[in-house]
Symmetry: C2
Subunit: 309 residues, 2 copies
DNA sequence: TATCCTTACGGAATTCGTAAGCATG
DNA sequence: CATGCTTACGAATTCCGTAAGGATA
C-alpha cells in the first residue's frame, strides 16, 4: 500500500471513474494509474471498483466502505505537511478560498489586502462558484476556506461559523418614482419588474420568503449571480434591483440610488466553512480572524484542533 | 512520504528512540531506519527527533505535534486492510487479547472455546500483563481487545464497556477455624495473615478499601498476580486467601474451602476495552458479544463505527 | 569499550512511462 | 471510430542491505 495508490483511488471517485482524467490530473500516465489501482485491490484482496467490461463505473460495497478511510488518510498526509510547514516557520504556503462573486467582489477585498500585507509569501487562490459548489470544494479539500451566505451546512463534514450580517437593499435608476416614496413597502416594490440574484445565491431565499409572506408574486424579469450584472440591467432600465447593500458604491454608481430595505427582508448571515479534520495553518487562522473578527477565542481554538471538535 | 517512514517514526517513539531496536522490531536494518527517518524529516522540512550527539533522545516540538497524526494514519492503514478482509469474506485473521492472568485462567476459557468453534481460522493471541500494561497494549494497537478489572480507563483513547460482575471470596485450608465462624466479618478475617493479589490487580483496591473503611490494617503476608499462586500458599498454610470467587474450583481445590464474602467487599466489574479509531472485524465483534452478552445493540453499533463515536 | 548512529557503496526491487492491443458506446 | 482500459517491455528511480567509520555513555 502506498500513497500514490490512495491518491489515484480518491481521484478516480472524484472524477467519476475516468482513469484517463485521473492520470492527467495527477501528472501520471493512464496505464500507471490502472496498474496502481489494481495492485492496491490485489493487496487488499477486494475489488474497489465496479467494472463494466473494461470501464470503471462505480464503487463496490467494499469500495464505499473504504473510501472514507482513504480520504482521511490523505487528509492526514496533508495535515502532516502543513503542521511541519507551520513549525518550519516560514510564512510561505497557499490559501485557497472558495466563495461567491458577492463576497469576492465586495466583502473580501479589504480583508485580502490586509492579509497580503501581513503574509506576502502566501499564494492566494480565489475559486468562485455557487454556494453548493463552494461547500463541495471545501468538503473535498480543494479549497481551504469557503465563504458564502448559503448552503455551507449542506455537507456534514464542514465546520461553519458566522462572520457578519448584511441586508438587502433596493437600487433604482436616479429619478425613479420610488426614490420619493418614503419608507419602502413590499407592495410598492412588487409594482415594478425586478432584477435580482439567481436562486440559491446571495440570500435570494430571503427575498422570495418576504414576498411569499406578503402574498405577493413579484415579476422577476432577470436574475444573475452577481450585483454588477444586476446593476447594469437596472441602469439600462430593465427594472429595479434588489442586491446586497454593500454592492452599492455611491461614487461609482452615480446613475443609481440605494433605497433602504432593512425593514423588508430578513437579514443575511455570511458564514465561513472549513473542512473537519483539516489542519489549518497559522496564516489560515489569521485570515479567519481578519474576516470574522467576531469569532471568539474558543471558536478559533476548536478550529485549531479539528479532530477534537 | 511513505508508510515505512511513518512506521519507523512510530516505532522509534515506542522504543524510546533506539533505532537499532526499531530496526530489529520491524525486520529492517538500522542504517535503513536511520536513513528513512532522515528522509522524512528532510521532506517535511523539520526535525522530528531531538539528537544529542548522534543519538536520538526525544521528540522535538514539531515531532510531538506530528506523532498523533502519524499514529492515526497507520491505524487507518490497518483499518483499510481489516475492512477489506472483512469483505473478502473469509474468517481468517488474528485476534490479540490483552488480559490479566485471572481473566485468562478463569473467565476466558469457555468463551475462547466457543469462539474457536465458530471461527477456527482466526489466530488467537493471549498477551498477559498488568492492567496498566493491558491498557497500554490496546492503546498502542498491539492488542485488539483488552480485558481487565482495573485501569482500562487510564488511557483516553480507549472505549471501554462493562462485561460482568464478580465478587471476592475468602479461601482457607479445610478445617480452618473460620469455616465454622458463620457469617464472615472483616474483623475475623483480619485476625489471620492474608495472601491476596498484588496492588493494582484483580480488584485489590476494593479489598484494601473495605479494610480501610473498617479501620483495620490486615497483615498481608504475600501478594501475587494470580490466584493459582495464592491458593498454593494458602494450601501451604501461609495464611488465608482473598481471591476472585471464580478462581475456586471445588473439584480441584479439595484441600481448600471457599467462604462467601459478598457482603464484605465491593463487587468488581470486569471491563473490556478497544482502541478508539480502530476498525473491529466481524469476528472481533462476535468475540465481544460472546464475552459480554450484556452489551446492548447500540453499544455494539458504536464499536462498529469507532470514528463516529 | 560497548553501544548506537552515520556515511558510502552496490545490488535488488519497485515504479513508471512508452508502445501496442482490445473492448465498448 | 473515438474513448478508455489492459498488457508487455524496458528504463529510471527508489529502496535497502552490507561494510566501514565515528561519536558518546
Amino acid at each position: 500500500m502506498n500513497f500514490q495508490q490512495l491518491r489515484f483511488v480518491r481521484e478516480a471517485v472524484r472524477r467519476s471513474f475516468n482513469l484517463t482524467e485521473v492520470a492527467a490530473a495527477l501528472y501520471a500516465t493512464q496505464p500507471g494509474v490502472s496498474r496502481a489501482i489494481k495492485e492496491l485491490e490485489d493487496e487488499l484482496g477486494v475489488e474497489l471498483f465496479v467494472r463494466r467490461g473494461k470501464r470503471l463505473v462505480g464503487l463496490t460495497e467494499p469500495g464505499r466502505a473504504l473510501i472514507d478511510v482513504v480520504d482521511r488518510m490523505l487528509t492526514d498526509a496533508q495535515n502532516l505537511r502543513r503542521i511541519a510547514d507551520q513549525f518550519s516557520g516560514d510564512d510561505a504556503g497557499g490559501l485557497i478560498l472558495a466563495t461567491t462573486h458577492t463576497q469576492a467582489r465586495y466583502a473580501l477585498p479589504p480583508v485580502i489586502k490586509q492579509f497580503k500585507g501581513r503574509y506576502p509569501r502566501v499564494h492566494l487562490g480565489l475559486h468562485q462558484g455557487s454556494p453548493q459548489q463552494i461547500a463541495e470544494m471545501v468538503s473535498k479539500g480543494q479549497a481551504d476556506i469557503g465563504i458564502s451566505t448559503e448552503a455551507l451546512d449542506t455537507f456534514a463534514d464542514l465546520l461553519t461559523y458566522p462572520c457578519y450580517i448584511w441586508h438587502h437593499a433596493v437600487i433604482v435608476p436616479t429619478g425613479h418614482p420610488l426614490v420619493d416614496f418614503g419608507m419602502l413597502t413590499l407592495d410598492a416594490i412588487a409594482e415594478y419588474p425586478i432584477v435580482t440574484y439567481d436562486e440559491a445565491f446571495t440570500g435570494r431565499s430571503h427575498i422570495d420568503a418576504a414576498f411569499l409572506r406578503a402574498g405577493l408574486a413579484p415579476d422577476v424579469v432577470l436574475t444573475a449571480i452577481d450585483a454588477d450584472v444586476i446593476k447594469t440591467y437596472v441602469e439600462v432600465g430593465l427594472g429595479i434591483g434588489i442586491v446586497a447593500s454593500m454592492a452599492y458604491d455611491p461614487a461609482r454608481d452615480q446613475s443609481l440610488e440605494l433605497l433602504d430595505s432593512r425593514h423588508l427582508f430578513e437579514p443575511n448571515t455570511t458564514r465561513l466553512g472549513v473542512r473537519k479534520g483539516s489542519f489549518l495553518r497559522g496564516y489560515m487562522m489569521e485570515f479567519i480572524r481578519l474576516f470574522a473578527p467576531g469569532l471568539g477565542a474558543d471558536d478559533l481554538a476548536s478550529l485549531a484542533e479539528p479532530r477534537a471538535a
